[in-house]
């Protein structure tokens, strides 16, 4: 027996993809490159019949959003239920909720790429598109909430004749920087990964107009080895930038609250608490969209039960983080000794007028993920779908609770005031949901939503390791 070179000790074991079990779990059906490409590209060229109807329907419902936006702009935000002191309410709840949902896409794409998780391959583009469209919805609310949305450019530092500049010591200007950077970087990251597949569609599509359209969008990609190498290095670098960006964006959003002095907001736990919540709701949204899509497009062999299981485990982890954050938040208020904080966290929320809201949040966000300890639930599409809807409801209510409880009962009892949303508030929320789905369905219609070249590369890699 010869003594070979000693393997250096590793912090964690390298996943062993030579095991056939992994291949079966992630890519159970062995397909040739041509078959795999044809299958996935055909989904774009010959979409299922329901897609047109669904696009028309969500497009029509998006008109509700347009109508509400126009009405709000023409009349003023007095048509919302906001009041003084509850000046944020639905608008900012929706903003934080949508931005939070937008976190999972880049998380899946960037973090899981850096951690070399193979299972991200079939879902990353789907999740990233969801991110982009969710951030678009989020952006609508702060713009409208400004009241005079047409002056939004005052937020941008430009030399003006007014001689004033934005106040960069305010967390609201940080928000502008964070959200616009996030949207731009997510788009670049998504597009850079998409270019090879647009080129594949250019070469595959039979119709001239499609070939033209995809030729322009593919920017002349030809797939030389040098280009692939450049693209992969750039993609890795963008992932390395996007990963801390994901963490920074919701941290900054949380500072909108934490920098304020209101009881229930002024807490150092907010950034990690918000980031965990964002990834939690984002993974829930990815599953909500993925489960029906994989069924309707018959993609169970590419988005497998194993993928659902892994995402469910992420839900379980982030759900546990959220539950821990709730406990710590209350504990900090109790041990901190500030009587207003104590009043807010120990009385107003759990026992006061908002108690039903508080306990619904606890049930949805802390209770429902407990089902995910069961392997059978994690691997059942229907159970997961129901749970993800519950979690999203819970996360929306959580933001509403954080915002309206602290605003409606701060330091002075004399200015305490309740809050009641108006029809326009509700219609805006429903409108953004439709608009989000509308954009998402358009994405399914025109873009190969499963990364074809990445899947082929994964297949090659798994084949080589066998």
């Amino acid at each position: 027996m010869t003594a070979g070179p000693v393997e250096p000790a590793r912090l964690w074991p390298t996943p062993d993809f030579s095991a056939p079990a992994d291949q079966v779990a992630l890519l159970p059906r062995a397909q040739s490159d041509a078959e795999l490409s044809a299958e996935l590209l055909e989904k774009v060229l010959h979409p299922p019949r329901w897609l047109g109807t669904a696009i028309a329907l969500t497009g029509a419902c998006s008109a509700v959003l347009a109508a509400c936006v126009v009405y709000t702009l023409l009349t003023g935000i007095g048509v919302w239920g906001n009041n003084i002191p509850v000046a944020w309410a639905f608008g900012i709840t929706n903003f934080v909720w949508w931005i939070g949902i937008g976190h999972a896409g880049t998380f899946i794409s960037a973090f899981l790429l850096l951690l070399e998780q193979r299972w991200r391959t079939s879902i990353n583009r789907f999740a990233e598109a969801m991110t982009l469209f969710a951030v678009v919805q989020a952006g609508i609310f702060p713009l409208l909430h400004m009241g005079r949305a047409w002056f939004f450019y005052w937020l941008i530092p430009y030399p003006s004749t007014m001689g004033v500049w934005p106040q960069f010591r305010s967390s609201l200007t940080w928000d502008v920087a964070a959200v616009s950077t996030y949207l731009t970087v997510s788009f670049l990251f998504w597009y850079l990964g998409l270019i090879p597949d647009l080129a594949a569609l250019r070469d595959y599509a039979p119709e001239r107009w499609r070939r033209r359209l995809y030729a322009i969008s593919a920017l002349g990609w030809h797939g030389s080895a040098t280009t692939w190498r450049t693209q992969r290095i750039a993609y890795g670098l963008l992932a390395a930038l996007a990963a801390p960006l994901v963490v920074s964006v919701h941290s900054i959003v949380s500072m909108d609250f934490a920098i304020g002095v209101l009881p229930g907001w002024h807490s150092t736990i907010f950034p990690p608490y918000f980031v965990a919540g964002a990834i939690y709701s984002g993974f829930a949204m990815v599953l909500t969209l993925l489960i029906p899509a994989r069924r309707l497009y018959r993609l169970e062999h590419l988005i497998t039960t194993e993928h659902l299981d892994k995402m469910a485990k992420m839900l379980l982890v982030t759900g546990s983080l959220i539950s821990y954050a709730y406990v710590v938040e209350i504990y900090l208020a109790w041990v901190g000794g500030d009587s207003f904080e104590r009043h807010m966290l120990l009385w107003v929320r759990p026992r006061g007028p908002f108690a039903p809201l508080f306990w619904t949040v606890i049930a949805c966000n802390c209770g429902s993920p407990l089902f995910l300890w069961s392997r059978r639930v994690r691997r059942s599409a229907l159970c997961l779908f129901t749970l993800t809807l519950t979690i999203q409801l819970g996360m929306w209510l959580e933001r509403l609770m954080l915002i309206i409880t602290s605003l409606s009962a701060d330091f002075l009892p004399t200015i305490a005031h309740g809050y009641r949303p108006t029809v326009i508030d509700g219609a805006l929320l429903v409108g953004t949901l439709s608009f989000f789905l509308f954009l998402f369905l358009l994405f399914l219609r025109f873009v190969p939503f499963i990364p074809v070249s990445e899947l082929k590369a994964l297949q090659f890699e798994l084949r080589g390791r066998q």
């Binding site: 001689g163 004033v164 960069f168 970087v185 797939g223 080895a225 750039a234 900054i252």
Partner: protein
């Protein structure tokens, strides 16, 4: 008359494994400066071709990130402490800590834009036509075909390379005139 176009020789392979072993074998036989087109990234093929690691893009990313962070800090310092000083409850006008979030975001934004556009630039994109498109069947490169080739010197007839490629299992070998293939 000066010759402006180079002759190129391109061979089609039907699988990544075949292309990879062909490149390895050709390199062993002494054929240098090979090029390849593939439908998906093949890190082993890049190694076998001996492609250099692109250093420009990471460097540009670093420069852009530093410029973004530095530039945004200067902007915030100048607007808050010099051009438009505003006393907010006696807080310092130039407060570095509150500048950190925007400095970080600007660094990431500038670096990402630099990476994206540098990638396009280094890859010769955007371009709307490519000389190799004239080879019949080349469009399958984005689906499932692998092309290996080299540009030939003026004296080289390419017979040796062509024979080697055929021996390695390439079903089709094309002579192609035109420049611009990377």
């Amino acid at each position: 008359m000066k010759q402006t176009c180079n002759a190129e020789l391109w061979a089609e392979f039907e699988s990544g494994e075949a292309a990879l072993s062909a490149v390895r074998s050709l390199r062993e036989q002494g054929f240098a400066s090979l090029q390849a087109f593939t439908p998906y990234p093949l890190p082993e093929l890049e190694e076998a071709l001996g492609l250099p690691r692109p250093r420009l893009i990471p460097f540009l990313a670093l420069v852009a990130a530093s410029a973004g962070a530095g530039g945004s800090f200067v902007l915030m310092w100048w607007t808050a402490a010099r051009d438009y000083p505003l006393n907010v409850g006696g807080r310092p006008l130039n407060s570095f800590v509150t500048d950190i979030p925007i400095m970080f975001e600007s660094a990431v934004l500038c670096a990402a834009l630099a990476i994206f556009f540098a990638t396009l630039f280094c890859s010769g994109m955007p371009r709307l036509n490519h000389p190799l498109d004239r080879i019949a069947g080349f469009e399958r490169t984005s689906i499932d075909r692998f092309w290996i080739g080299a540009s030939l010197d003026r004296q080289d007839t390419g017979e040796a390379l062509s024979r080697a490629l055929t021996r390695l299992g390439a079903p089709r070998v094309h002579w192609h005139t035109g420049s611009g293939a990377e």
